[in-house]
């Protein structure tokens, strides 16, 4: 049996109000792909941050290649051969790929940065592991998948042989996930050890050799990927059986509550949206599928009033709201779960309860003249935290101290609690664990049952198929296909998403 490269013994880390890691014994073997799974707030990220020196454990020991080691900080971790690819990339947007990679490990000639040598080494690394990356582009011009590759190259450039990745697939589209996995397999084959966190159990089972499950800060167990399945894993994670499919009742849809007519959005000479028309009726879930970057983001932003359409109209229950500011659109009973929770969804250094009331704080019962009724808010915040199972010590903590999935729950709680008539949700379950996904899906279906119109945007086909009554596929800024969910398959949708069949030609034409 291969010897462990990393072993932790009784590793413990507490934050005010929570024990994030409780006596964790972990054993990672050289050359394996080891997955860490667990509910939101189970302590996965914390454990990884300890391993890469960002946090110091309160108790316990880390053995690196058999030697008890204190990992002082990330720089030290790198020296020890441990590199981390963070959930939110640690890149300087304005720098080129090369500059990002060499930062902190620069080589010089006569006092001058030796960019040429660095570039050569980066190309070597890319060659060796089959990465596709241009070292001279600025990072801000790269796609998310490419940015992630930069992060991996950064770690390899420093000679790491243990690579830690926190939810690397959460931000990727399916094709990029496949590419990443190919890369990871090649890395593992050449002797690198990979530890990664994911909520997508299918992926975990696909790529990992072994899987460790955490729950409530404790280790539940480590299993071989071949010896378990999705259900088994989910049950280990949550502690009860999890429903993967949600049942929804047949329901005759009502009046159209959200209507989009001939919407176009031009940026310079390029159409980001072109002649998009759709309607979502009360009691209906409309799913928008598409590879990211095909206009979904813009569509949602235009509907919400974050951007003005070039042409076209938006109607909410027959009232024209085109061009109204966001506050007024929301005033018509529209809730919005944005795709980027850090940029649009939350104010990170405000507290959990403040975030729970952002944008809803004008409600009569929450105000006394110009003042906010804090006590009422705190009370309601506690109820929401209970109801949505947000794992947090107290609602007075800044929302930035929550785990990723719990931040997402804060947004969902806020948006669903406002008694909307229309819900627009982008990637509503991104970063959530299986249990929380089940919960959110149930809430969306309950909203449908209550006669709300729900528009979801998701890159996850399984999710779109499971939830939607009707599905629209976007490609190149157009709605290229609209079908009833019961009459299509993931394969068919996938084809349209990639622009093949009929819609493809037109869509290509306008891009040119």
């Amino acid at each position: 049996m291969p010897s462990p490269v990393i072993e932790t013994i009784g590793l413990t880390k507490a934050f005010p109000g929570v024990v994030a890691n409780d006596r964790i014994d972990l054993e990672i073997r050289a050359g394996e792909i080891h997955a860490i799974v667990g509910e939101n707030g189970a302590g996965k990220s914390t454990l990884m941050r300890i391993l890469c020196g960002l946090y110091q454990p309160d108790l316990g020991e880390i053995r690196l290649r058999g030697v008890p080691t204190v990992i002082r900080d990330p720089r030290h971790a790198i020296k020890l051969g441990i590199g981390m690819v963070h959930q939110h990339f640690m890149l300087v947007d304005r720098f080129t790929v090369t500059e990002n990679v060499i930062l902190g490990a620069e080589g010089t000639r006569w006092g001058r940065l030796d960019r040429r040598a660095a570039r050569r080494r980066i190309l070597e690394i890319c060659d060796r592991y089959g990465f596709d990356l241009d070292p001279d582009l600025a990072v801000e011009e790269l796609s998310v998948g490419q940015q992630q590759r930069v992060e991996i190259v950064k770690v390899l450039y420093r000679g790491a042989d243990i690579i830690i990745m926190d939810e690397p697939t959460a931000v990727l589209v399916p094709q990029e996930v496949q590419e990443l996995f190919d890369n990871l397999r090649r890395l593992a084959k050449s002797g690198k050890t990979i530890i990664f966190i994911s909520h997508k159990l299918d992926e975990v089972l696909d790529i990992a050799d072994r899987i460790t499950v955490l729950r409530g800060g404790r280790k539940v167990g480590t299993v071989k990927a071949q010896e378990t399945d999705r259900r088994g894993l989910a049950e280990m994670m949550v502690g009860r059986p999890v429903l993967f499919s949600v049942d929804k009742e047949e329901r005759a849809p009502g009046e159209p509550l959200l209507k989009v007519e001939g919407l176009s959005l031009k940026s310079g000479e390029r159409y980001l949206l072109r002649d998009v028309s759709l309607e979502v009726r009360g009691g209906e879930i409309y799913g928008i599928a598409g590879v990211e970057g095909n206009g979904q983001t813009e569509l949602v932003e235009v509907i919400m009033g974050l951007r003005r359409p070039t042409t076209g109209r938006i109607l909410l229950a027959a009232q024209d709201v085109t061009g109204l500011p966001v506050g007024r659109v929301r005033g018509h009973g529209v809730s919005f779960v944005p795709e980027d929770r850090h940029r649009r969804g939350l104010i990170l250094n405000m507290t959990v309860w403040e975030n729970l009331f952002l944008g809803r704080h004008r409600a009569r019962r929450l105000t006394a003249g110009p003042l906010l009724r804090r006590i009422v808010m705190l009370g309601e915040a506690d109820e929401l935290v209970q109801e949505y199972d947000i794992r947090v010590g107290s609602t007075g903590q800044p929302v930035s101290s929550l785990s990723g999935g719990n931040q997402q729950k804060v947004i969902l709680a806020r948006e669903l609690a406002g008694q909307p008539r229309v819900i627009i949700a982008s990637q509503p379950t991104r970063g959530l664990d299986v249990g929380a996904i089940e919960f959110v899906r149930q809430r969306l279906i309950a909203a449908r049952a209550a006669g709300l119109a729900v528009l979801i945007v998701s890159a996850d086909l399984e999710e779109v198929l499971a939830l939607s009554d009707r599905i629209g596929v976007m490609y190149g800024g157009r709605l290229v296909k609209e079908v009833a969910a019961s009459e299509t398959t993931a394969q068919e949708l996938g084809m349209y998403m990639l622009g093949s069949t009929t819609g493809a030609k037109e869509a290509r034409d306008h891009v040119l």
């Binding site: 946090y55 990330p74 790198i78 640690m90 500059e99 060499i102 930062l103 490990a105």
Partner: protein, 302 residues
């Protein structure tokens, strides 16, 4: 109207702005707003006069530089270590600079507002150039500091873009967390950026006292520290751009000074730098883009 004399005067007015703008670039590229540059110029000008009075002009410049650097150290400690709001610290330092200088002036020179006259560095005639008809006034009888300043523009540019130090300095101003995880010492880099800005501002003040006026006069900086910030923004946080902006502002000051155009009130020229800066910041001329993390404090662990 705008002859060689005028241009020579414009360049003299440019120097303190440009030096301070170069300093400001170091601070802001590292992520720290240094609105205390005005104060650093003030202490620079006074202590330079003090040094020059006692030990000669070169020592004077060194005194000025050190005084600016010392005040910058306080700003660095406040903003980097103690995470005080950058503006608050800068404003406080401006007040402190004004007060301590006046106090020091009273106790050292027995006068609150001026120092005795001091010696300047020997002026230089730049060979060859000082014979050319149009350029002659620009190239003869120039202070060595003028030449040094233009050299520093290109040195700054080289350091920022071509050295490890420059790369790291820019990195901590763009994304300190990323830099930190790569083992870049964010605190050290930011201290360096701020202290360098103080050294530059101190030299700018010293130039005003020792080279430009030949004595310290209270209020001689006349808000040039703020104009320098405007020049930095106008120049899009780069040394070459800042040089262009400083020259423009220097020219408008020279024009204001001479009141060459009779029917335009001189206040108009005084106002020009600010108006231009607002136009630039408003994105009308070009998109200006500050360092992404400027004005924020960095704390370890999310």
């Amino acid at each position: 109207m705008i002859g060689g004399e005028m241009l020579a005067s414009a360049i003299r007015m440019t120097i303190p702005i440009l030096l301070t703008a170069l300093g400001a670039i170091h601070a802001e590229r590292s992520g720290i707003v240094n609105i205390g540059l005005e104060g650093m110029m003030i202490v620079g000008s006074f202590w330079a006069a003090f040094g020059a009075y006692h030990y000669g002009p070169l020592a004077g410049l060194l005194f000025g530089i050190m005084a600016g650097g010392a005040l910058a150290l306080v700003h660095a400690a406040a903003t980097v270590t103690f995470r005080v709001d950058h503006i608050v610290s800068g404003v406080a330092l401006n007040i402190i600079a004004y007060g301590t200088t006046r106090f020091a002036s009273l106790s050292i020179f027995d006068r609150a507002t001026t120092s005795p006259h001091v010696q300047s560095l020997p002026a230089i005639d730049i060979p060859v150039l000082d014979r050319l008809p149009l350029i002659a006034p620009l190239a003869s009888n120039v202070s060595p500091v003028v030449i040094l300043t233009f050299a520093l523009v290109f040195l700054t540019r080289w350091v920022l873009s071509e050295t490890t130090f420059g790369l790291r300095l820019r990195a901590v101003g763009e994304n300190p967390q990323a830099a930190d995880t790569l083992g870049v010492n964010v605190f050290a880099m930011r201290y360096a950026g701020v202290i360098i800005s103080g050294l530059f501002a101190g030299l700018a003040g010293a130039y005003l006292a020792v080279e430009h006026t030949g004595m310290y006069v209270e209020g001689m900086t006349q808000g040039k520290g703020f104009i320098a910030l405007a020049a930095m923004i106008f120049g899009n946080w780069g040394p070459i751009g800042a040089m262009g902006a400083s020259l423009l502002f220097g020219l408008s000051e020279a024009l204001a000074l001479r009141q060459v155009v009779e029917f335009i009130p001189y206040e108009f020229f005084k106002m020009l730098p600010y108006v231009l800066t607002i136009i630039v910041v408003g994105g009308i001329v070009q998109r200006s883009r500050p360092p992404a993390a400027v004005g924020t404090s960095y704390e370890r662990g999310e």
